[in-house]
């Protein structure tokens, strides 16, 4: 069993989706996240253990490597896809058991902005670290964020923007959320966003990379 967990974590770290996937070349013809997750569950592992001992460990390694510039967008995307393949089996189990996920993250790209690759990477990374993620997509208005945040008390809201022009909406939405309920925690991110900007608009968290938001959430939900 331990060997399978470690294999699963490798699949996530290196982005091996399933046996047929050609990527990465060095893992050709080996079982991927799809097969190994299934083997673990068949052997009686709990969904929670698969998440904790396999996925989270792999995802954390990717996050750190991305931060250190050792890997780049394609590897992270492949890791995210590998995790997706595992989550197909885990999601129904979490839904059944009410889930032992650590907390909820609501994410969307702000109104006026259609960029979603960065947002998707963050959402995968957060999900892979054991959180429930509600992805609202792109071009999302303040009202939508507020409505979903109300439906999920305690959730953290993540606002993504890739353009300097849509950062203005990040500010407007942050302020609208805080005006509605000052206790809702807001995290902001995206290529042009900085810590200064985040402080100025009254957001609770900024990170230049996905790993930072995971660490922030770990801090919030550990309390």
């Amino acid at each position: 069993m331990e060997e399978l967990y470690s294999k699963l974590s490798d699949c996530i770290e290196f982005g091996k989706i399933n046996k047929a996937a050609p990527f990465p070349p060095q893992m050709k013809d080996q079982d991927g996240a799809d097969e190994i997750t299934k083997q673990l569950l068949d052997a009686g592992a709990s969904a929670d253990d698969v998440l904790q001992k396999g996925l989270i460990i792999g995802m954390e390694k990717v996050g750190v490597k991305f931060r250190n510039n050792e890997v780049f967008v394609p590897q992270v995307l492949m890791s995210a896809k590998a995790m997706d393949a595992a989550m197909v089996y885990l999601k129904p189990l979490f839904a059944e058991s009410g889930g032992s996920q650590k907390g909820t993250f609501i994410i969307g790209t702000v109104e006026g902005d259609l960029h979603d690759i960065g947002k998707n990477l963050v959402s995968m990374m957060v999900e892979g670290n054991g959180y429930k993620v509600i992805d609202l997509g792109t071009d999302v208005k303040a009202e939508t964020f507020i409505k979903v945040a109300d439906e999920n008390p305690g959730a953290i809201v993540g606002l993504s923007a890739l353009l300097t022009t849509t950062m203005g909406n990040q500010e407007a939405i942050t302020k609208a959320i805080k005006a509605h309920n000052t206790n809702i925690k807001v995290a902001v991110g995206g290529a042009p966003v900085t810590q200064d900007f985040s402080d100025r608009i009254g957001a609770d968290c900024y990170s230049a990379d996905p790993q930072g938001i995971v660490e922030y959430m770990n801090g919030v939900f550990a309390k």
Binding site: L77, D116, L163
Partner: protein
């Protein structure tokens, strides 16, 4: 007598010259070789040479009077000029009506790029380009790309500021021309401007903010004539400023102008047109339809976001191989321009210094501070490699998806026209090596230079060019890349240097 210093493949030599002669005659007298098929009549534009600290001139129409330094095109550049001539549309001289009322009518074509502005001074009597000059787009200090400039418009007076610096830059060139060539403002009867959609908005002082926000609606895309007086551009007071038509927020007049300026040979049915600039606009042109898109390539190849990046100005490393670097103007290096960047990355990928997935473990020193022109190390950083990965993948993914959307394959593409000054200088083999251009089209790549500018010049020369522009716009449809189901995966996977 004034002196001329001539740089050619044979070396550098200095001679005295007679200022009564044209530059072409002077060069020919001292044995320099310049291709001049029209015999110095000012009509073919192929005898262009570079005058240091001034710009590119059509040597048969240029009469220097002071000490100058001239750089002759090398064989590669001559071939490009010849290719450009072969693939550019030719129209009989038919300038605007005002030209008939003026003794020696002149037109000014301006290609306003995000990074630089190129000015074409055209004699509307002969149809010859008298000279070409270029300056950095002064809006650069408000942001390297159009998005950050649009962002600047949110500041009080930001829009006015962006408009003013453009108009000032144009008027400054007009003054320079008057001083250097003795051309008076009232002789300049027409200005044609080709630029991307954002810059056209800024030039007219129209708020471009909607261009950056979904659903990206321009305030205007059609052909416009504005009185020069109204914009404060100092030409003949009855003269007009003509803005060429655009297609959408991100496929601007520069692309419409560029595609319209190309006259492919008969055997070329379907072709790709690519302008590797900040917005990485491209089009697949078929006999009845044009599919176009813009890719978020970013300004990496124009020098922004790159630690030692710069435009292709004097002192920029423009070529690189295992044998070392070459710079623009043979000066000591002070930075790296786009073509150099591609060469450096291709070389370092080939020798394993950069891994297939783009890891460079430490800064790579191209020239140390004792050998550079600015007392600083000229380096390539690991982050620079990442910027290039993002840029080249955006272009390559755009090419693949656009060809797919047009229902074609690489086999159906008869030519790849590479537009933009950058296209002239990049080494196609290295561009393919790093995955910026598809290997499959290796034998079909044709650099055609600044087609946006060529279209502006055609528009000055002939009113008939309006019909060509109109037809280009009518045949075009805009493709939204991010809506394509394969986009995300293509974009990620094309980042490798496989």
């Amino acid at each position: 007598m004034p002196k001329i210093t001539l740089h050619s493949t044979a070396g550098i030599e200095t001679h005295e010259y007679n200022s009564a002669n044209s530059l072409l005659q002077t060069i020919q007298k001292i044995g320099g070789e310049v291709f001049a098929p029209c015999g110095g009549n000012g009509t073919c534009g192929k005898c262009r040479v570079k005058v240091k600290h001034y710009g590119t001139v059509t040597s048969c129409l240029y009469y220097p009077t002071t000490d100058i330094e001239v750089i002759l095109p090398d064989t590669k550049e001559s071939k490009i000029l010849t290719d450009q001539y072969k693939h550019t549309l030719k129209l009989p001289l038919n300038p605007c009506c005002l030209a008939a009322n003026v003794h020696s009518p002149m037109g000014l074509g301006i290609d306003i790029g995000t990074t630089s502005m190129v000015f074409y001074w055209v004699d509307l009597k002969t149809g010859g380009i008298v000279n070409t000059t270029s300056v950095t787009n002064p809006q650069g200090r408000f942001g390297a790309d159009v998005i950050s400039r649009i962002g600047h418009c949110a500041n009080e007076g930001g829009l006015e500021e962006l408009q003013k610096v453009l108009i000032d830059a144009i008027n400054k060139e007009l003054i320079k021309l008057e001083e250097n060539e003795g051309i008076i403002n009232s002789d300049i009867v027409k200005v044609t401007i080709s630029a991307n959609t954002t810059i056209l908005h800024l030039l007219l002082g129209i708020d471009p903010t909607p261009l950056a926000l979904y659903p990206f609606t321009p305030a205007f895309t059609d052909y416009k004539i504005v009185a020069a007086k109204k914009l404060g551009i100092d030409i003949n007071e009855q003269g007009g400023i003509h803005l060429l038509p655009s297609i959408s927020a991100y496929v601007g007049a520069d692309i419409v102008s560029g595609i319209s300026s190309i006259a492919p040979r008969n055997e070329i049915k379907n072709y790709l047109f690519i302008d590797i600039g900040t917005n990485g606009e491209m089009a697949v042109v078929t006999p009845n339809e044009i599919f176009c898109c813009a890719t978020a390539a970013g300004p990496a190849f124009e020098g922004a976001n790159i630690k030692c990046g710069m435009g292709a100005f004097d002192g920029a490393i423009s070529e690189y191989s295992d044998n070392g670097y070459k710079t623009v103007g043979n000066d000591k290096p002070i930075g790296i321009c786009g073509s150099g960047l591609i060469d450096i990355i291709a070389t370092l990928v080939n020798n394993g210094t950069i891994s297939m997935d783009g890891v460079l473990t430490e800064d790579f020193v191209l020239a140390d501070k004792n050998h550079s022109g600015n007392g600083e190390n000229i380096i390539l950083t690991p982050r620079d490699v990442r910027e290039v990965q993002l840029a080249k993948s955006a272009i390559m993914s755009g090419i693949k998806i656009l060809i797919d959307k047009a229902g074609l394959t690489y086999n159906d593409i008869d030519a790849l026209y590479l537009a933009g000054g950058f296209g002239n200088y990049l080494n196609p083999d290295n561009a393919m090596r790093i995955g910026l251009l598809p290997m499959e089209l290796a034998d079909r790549i044709i650099p055609v230079g600044n087609t946006s500018g060529a279209g502006a010049v055609l528009h000055l020369l002939s009113e008939d060019f309006n019909d060509v522009l109109k037809s280009t716009v009518e045949k075009s449809q805009n493709i939204e890349l991010s809506e394509h189901p394969d986009f995300e995966m293509e974009y990620a996977m094309n980042m490798y240097f496989s």
